[in-house]
Amino acid sequence: MTRFLAVSNRKGGVGKSTISVMLAHAAAAWGRQRVLLMDLDTQCNASLMLLGGEGWEKASRSGQTIADYFYDRFDNVAGDESVYIVNNVGDVAHPRTAPGRVSLLPGSQQLEDVQGELYLKQSKKDLHADAVALLVRSRMKRLMRHFGMDYDLVILDCPPGLSFAAHAALDMADQIVVPFRPDFVSQFALDRVALLIERVENAQQLASIPFAERRYACLPNCLTGAGHERLLIEQIALDHPLMTTRLPVLDSIARAFDWDERKKTMEQKYAEALAHLRKLHTEVFAGTQRRSKSA
């Protein structure tokens, strides 16, 4: 059964795209899974990491983007969605992994415009604004689920902010990784995204949901080792499930995403970050297994 894993946080610059791509590589190389990464962010960073600028531009010109997919198939969900997918993306060639395990539905800078246009199109049906929004979200969820048959794992790289697509992704995800940088405003961002994920209205309602029953887990990222980071992580752990993996600021992570067409092993690509990625992959995958068993 396909698992849908969202990587989300309403705050920007916390490493959502980087972590999405790292998890895609790890699941394909180590988990031997067929992985699709869906780039819902109009910045298209995950697409640029996996295709390079020219590759992404080529995909955009040929209509292989998520905006094209939503626009073309909004009223016609049934159809061959594979024409929008770019296969065998990225620069990892693990010895045990057949090429083509990571596929990409590329992002588009037009996605916000397309969402607005789809909303307006539906508005003509004399529905209340909330009902129209719900309809657009529901249709997007159906369109995203459509990829379920062809992949073991679908990673949804969510945008910061709350578009229809982001709402749809959070609604449908089986599991959500919420990366954050331990700084003052991150606490507020985590609180808010948690309310949204668990569909509650305030901190008291959120507190009544046991950690084990929540769909999300927070991932501390970009750690420098400063004392105040530790304090903040301890504070966040009072209110949110926290992953045991901690990702420090590492040059090797930043360098791993300099575009390079040459295929390399996971060891070559991630260098000293490899141990952190292994831990992240194990933890995320174990969480997914636990959830599917309990379901």
Binding site: L195, L223, G227, R230, R246, V249
Partner: protein, 156 residues
């Protein structure tokens, strides 16, 4: 040679009670509340038979974080070579154990510069007009309470 002895139950309670009585700035109600908390949460403590010399006692960080090594705060070095301003997490203590416990934890810090350093590093705003150590501790705890309330308000 035995260097420590274990205390639990009534002996542990008596030890805490004796230790807290040395802090005259803690009111009786707060002390009792803290003693009740400690009784619930601590099963056993190990007491050094020969206490370390005072200057050898270095506060240990509250919890280990798997990640890069802790960097020393430059202000900490300037103020006191042995004091770690992150040794206790005031906001977490306020949230989990309450005001009295936070005041009791801060009572172990008896230098104004260390308290001010802790407040600064933990981003707990304390006014310059606060003069006594007791006032300073109370101001730190109040700032932590404001921090908690502020966050709860934003998440509603």
């Amino acid at each position: 040679m035995r260097k420590t002895k274990a205390l639990s139950g009534a002996a542990q309670d008596a030890y805490f009670r004796r230790a807290f009585k040395t802090h005259s700035n803690m009111v009786a109600a707060e002390r009792e509340q803290l003693l009740r908390s400690l009784k619930r949460e601590i099963a056993q403590l190990r007491l050094r038979l020969e206490p370390l010399p005072r200057e050898a006692v270095t506060p240990k960080p509250a919890a280990a974080v798997d990640g890069p090594e802790e960097t020393s705060a430059p202000q900490a070095a300037a103020s006191s070579t042995s004091f770690d301003p992150f040794s206790l997490n005031v906001v977490v203590i306020v949230r989990t154990l309450g005001r009295a416990a936070a005041l009791a934890a801060l009572a172990a810090i008896d230098r104004e510069e260390d308290l001010r350093l802790l407040a600064r590093e933990q981003r707990l705003s304390v006014g310059p007009d606060v003069v006594s150590l007791a006032q300073l501790r109370a101001a730190i705890v109040s700032a932590a309470e404001r921090r908690v309330a502020n966050r709860m308000a934003a998440a509603s």
